[in-house]
């Protein structure tokens, strides 16, 4: 009797777990369907080639926002990738001490800081002294968001490189510097690139830190010390507007954004998979 009760409880609990899994998948699939259907019905060639139009005029696009986002990504990568990779090298090669633990811990904490707070920081240290919103301040904020991810992935990937490779090189009398650059980094390169792609994917959708740094712009960009448009900012402005036409554009923007991000995570997953196969 008791055994039957236990079996029933077991089956009920497993059923509950299956149901929770299904419930989690519902909003996800719903979001995909909406972004895809609404986006595909409002996207056209003008979206990629035209500037935003005033309300009521047809054929507006988000070309400036797409270009703006690309510029912001390049600017933030320019400072965040070197800092992240060199920091990651330190953690993997020399970081087996107290300082390494502190840095590792700080990086983890920094990755949990809300992006809007990072935006405030960029506002205080760059926008206030420069006295205007600018692409640089936006790239500064986005870079801070990228660094922890790149740093920790670089460390993780370098740690995967077999010790014997490193020792073989050092035993030949090659310097630590040369060993790291030519042997270790070369072996870990795929994984490091994955980390970079993931961090770029993440910042390309970030909106909050750009609100009062890059600020947005309805025209083509006019230099890195001026306000610049970004795709997420434009989606936000259009989504909260009362105009039907702008809502359509917002969905089209969302589709472009999500397609870019998923392409990036798909590519990085492929790179990682092929790497792990060699590993095993």
């Amino acid at each position: 009797m008791n055994n039957i009760r236990r079996k029933i409880i077991n089956n009920i609990m497993i059923l509950i777990m299956i149901i929770s899994t299904l419930i989690i998948l519902v909003p996800l699939i719903n979001i995909f369907i909406y972004v895809f259907l609404k986006g595909i019905s409002s996207i056209n060639i003008n979206f990629f080639t035209k500037l935003p139009m005033p309300v009521g005029e047809p054929n507006g696009g988000m070309a400036n926002a797409i270009v703006g986002s690309i510029i912001l990504i390049i600017l933030s990568s320019m400072w965040a990738i070197p800092v992240g990779i060199l920091g990651g090298i330190y953690l993997a090669e020399f970081g087996n001490n107290k300082l390494g633990t502190i840095i590792r811990f700080t990086a983890d904490v920094l990755s949990g800081v809300p992006s809007i707070v990072i935006g405030i920081f960029a506002y205080i240290v760059i926008v206030l002294p420069m006295k205007n919103f600018s692409a640089i301040s936006g790239a500064f904020a986005l870079g801070i968001i990228m660094i922890p991810t790149i740093m920790r992935t670089t460390e993780e990937m370098i740690n995967l490189v077999p010790h014997t490779l490193r020792e073989a090189s050092l035993a030949l009398g090659i310097t630590r510097f040369r060993t790291t650059i030519s042997i270790v980094l070369k072996t870990a390169l795929n994984g490091i690139i994955t980390g970079i792609i993931l961090s770029v994917a993440r910042i390309s959708g970030e909106t909050a830190p750009l609100l009062f740094t890059a600020f947005g712009n309805r025209f083509w960009h006019e230099g890195i010390n001026k306000p610049i448009a970004a795709l997420p900012l434009q989606i936000f402005a259009y989504a909260i507007s009362p105009y039907e036409d702008w809502h359509k554009q917002a969905w089209a923007g969302a589709l472009v954004l999500i397609a870019m991000i998923f392409l990036a995570s798909f590519i990085s997953r492929r790179i990682l998979k092929s790497k792990y196969k060699i590993e095993r």
């Binding site: 497993i14 929770s20 609404k38 904490v109 809007i116 510097f177 936000f236």
Partner: protein, 309 residues
């Protein structure tokens, strides 16, 4: 030979300097935000945290409605997200066969890659109408005697904010608790199965018991993400600085008041007040993150070399 040693030394110093950048950034953030919020702190003191009136034109600033909105919306999110994520992760890591596990885990990971702004867009045009037309009338009809479900149905409001946050923190909670469950030694499970435990009893005795601390860490990290989430919440919560027990009423969070009013802030005092609110959020999330990382690190030492997001 000597030249090589010098190069190595330079190499070590350079990488150290770059690694220290993260520490410098965090210190500079704390310093600058404290400095910038001093005028507001000197003017309002601790009363800032307990005042309920927010009227920038009259220079009256009370942060309580925002603190309330942030905490309550995050609590709703945890209330919904924790049971479902844990149920799903237990299913995926303990029971599901490989051909279900792989694609479903991948889908949940994708949930984390969707930007906040897209959740917000979906919230405005899909979630809010559903809440207004179906969910809120239903709750009012059957649970209307509870103070949480009273008032008009706007769709946007505390409930919408909480629900959208719950969707967004599912991947955080599940990916970390997955790692925690995976770090439970296989021998624990085998021991439970060997004495005749059912699958569920194995999970309860061997897995959950062993990983309580780590799961708590995962939940706290989810809370940290919910507290700081900006765009999606701003787009659905209604943005109205009042404290109301009803979940149908519009509310406001710390992150969304910063997002909405920072560029409109005209006076230095106004900016300073917003920075101070941001500082409160920053300190809370740092404390939560430190606790959570320590918990997660303590259970699964192998996470040390792993990126946690």
């Amino acid at each position: 030979m000597k030249k090589g040693k010098i190069i190595d030394l330079i190499f070590k110093i350079t990488t150290t300097v770059f690694a220290l950048t993260v520490v410098v950034i965090v210190i500079l953030m704390i310093y600058n935000m404290i400095k910038q919020s001093m005028p507001a702190f000197n003017k309002f003191g601790l009363k800032f945290l307990t005042d309920t009136i927010w009227d920038p034109l009259a220079e009256k600033f009370g942060a309580l409605p925002f603190i309330y909105g942030t905490i309550v919306s995050s609590m709703i999110a945890l209330f919904i997200a924790v049971p479902f994520s844990l149920g799903a992760v237990l299913f995926l890591s303990e029971i599901a066969p490989e051909w279900i596990k792989e694609p479903v885990s991948f889908l949940i990971e994708l949930l984390a890659a969707i930007p906040s702004i897209i959740y917000g867009l979906w919230g405005i045009f899909v979630l809010i109408p559903i809440l207004r037309n179906y969910v809120e009338p239903f709750l009012a009809k059957y649970f209307g005697y509870l103070p949480f479900f009273k008032g008009e149905f706007y769709g946007c409001g505390m409930l919408a904010g909480g629900i959208i946050l719950s969707i967004m923190i599912v991947p955080t909670i599940s990916s970390i608790s997955k790692d925690v469950f995976n770090s439970v030694p296989q021998t624990q499970r085998e021991a439970a199965l060997a004495i005749g435990a059912t699958k569920w009893e194995t999970i309860k005795l061997a897995v959950l018991n062993y990983s309580k601390t780590g799961v708590l860490g995962a939940i706290i990290l989810g809370l940290g993400r919910a507290l700081g989430e900006t765009m999606a919440v701003t787009m659905v919560i209604g943005n109205c600085p009042k404290i109301s027990i009803s979940l149908f009423e519009p509310s406001y969070t710390i992150a969304s008041v910063i997002a909405n009013e920072f560029t409109e802030a005209t006076s230095d005092l106004y900016i300073s007040v917003l920075v101070e609110i941001g500082l409160i959020l920053f300190i809370i999330t740092i404390i939560l993150n430190v606790c959570a990382r320590l918990l997660v690190w303590s259970v699964s030492g192998k996470l040390k070399g792993k990126v946690i997001e």
